[in-house]
């Protein structure tokens, strides 16, 4: 009986590890667009035009 219980635990751990590792989830994107940003410092000029 104890041997059977061990088998169950072993398979459970193995199956959980396998499935969790293979689960990609379903949240987030994660694309690198790699496009350079401009100089944000220029935004401080003309602030009265932020309607």
């Amino acid at each position: 009986m104890r041997k059977g219980f061990r088998k169950i635990v072993f398979v459970a751990v193995l199956a959980t590890s396998t499935l969790v590792a293979g689960c990609s989830g379903n949240i987030g994107v994660g694309l690198n667009v790699g496009v350079p940003i401009g100089d944000h410092g220029y935004m401080s000029v003309g602030t009265s035009r932020w309607w």
Binding site: V20, I27, G28, I37, W50
Partner: protein, 287 residues
């Protein structure tokens, strides 16, 4: 035989529950629309060259917690949570060889069909920033619009987070706004991509263009404050006090680009960068 049945049953239970509980994100605090909310920004990614610094900064700014997420194709990726809602993603990227900085916030607009929206965008003068592909959330792409602003397109496979889930609150993304070279051209382009209704309002002595979806304000377009500003999409985060939040950003390694002042939208916003140079707007929540 009994042992075999027990093992089979156990395996079946684990198979059906692992991705929705321990292995996948916990979406219990979020609700999703049954149909795509075309034109709504449904996700925001920070692209950063310094993930550790970003993690510390946004945890300190907004109280976000982070989970490692699988499914991102372009590097190490953290999903940020505020309470029981996923609010953004943080993607680690390598620096460009030419040394030009690429850290930025990138909003993803819901479109019914990413490939079709991409085709329309390219036909109207946009170029590809990231080609269409399938990732964790669904199908996505990113474009550089005809004026040079970068924006993402997404078709979620689990539905779009509804307006109750994304309601304005401190520490959440609350608005998106383009600083455009030509507001009329920009509105026409985004109408083509997102199917928006376009409305121009006069406020504080100037014209502000609203992009709406079924009467709901989804984003804004404003003429850039001067000709040296590269057209871009700004991501606004809700705060109680922009001045206090800007000071906090500075203390956490960021920098203040535009300090709050009466001349800047009546003191309701501050423009800052995080430690790696990604720009964000700290926007006072309406009371």
């Amino acid at each position: 035989m009994r042992l075999f049945l027990a093992l089979t049953l156990l395996f079946a239970v684990i198979t059906t529950t692992s991705c929705s509980t321990g292995g996948g994100p916990n979406l219990d605090g979020m609700s999703f629309s049954e149909r795509p909310l075309a034109g709504k920004v449904i996700w925001n990614d920070l692209i950063t060259e310094d993930l550790d610094a970003a993690r510390r900064f946004y945890a300190g700014m907004f109280g976000w917690t982070f989970e490692e997420a699988r499914g991102a194709t372009d590097g190490e990726y953290l999903a940020a949570r505020l309470g029981d809602v996923y609010v953004a993603g943080l993607l680690a990227v390598d620096p460009r060889e030419d040394g030009r900085r690429i850290s930025r916030w990138l909003p993803y607009v819901s479109v019914g069909d990413v490939d079709e929206a991409l085709r329309r965008g390219l036909g109207a003068g946009a170029s590809v920033a990231a080609s269409a592909r399938d990732v964790a959330i669904g199908r996505v792409a990113a474009i550089i619009d005809p004026q040079g602003a970068v924006i993402g397109l997404a078709a979620s496979r689990i539905g779009d987070p509804d307006d109750a889930t994304t309601r304005a609150a401190a520490g959440r993304v609350i608005w998106h706004e383009m600083l455009a070279r030509d507001t009329i051209d920009a509105a026409a382009f985004y109408r083509l991509i997102g199917g928006y209704e376009v409305e121009t309002v006069n406020r504080r002595g100037g014209e502000y263009t609203l992009l709406l979806q079924d009467g709901v304000r989804r984003a804004g377009i404003m003429e850039r404050p001067n000709d040296d500003v590269q057209p871009l999409w700004l991501t606004h985060f809700g705060v109680a006090d922009p001045a206090e939040a800007a000071a906090r950003a500075e203390s956490l390694g960021g920098s203040i680009v535009v300090a709050p002042s009466p001349a800047l939208r009546d003191g309701t916003i501050a423009v800052v960068t995080d430690p790696d140079g990604a720009v964000l707007v700290l926007s006072r929540l309406s009371t």
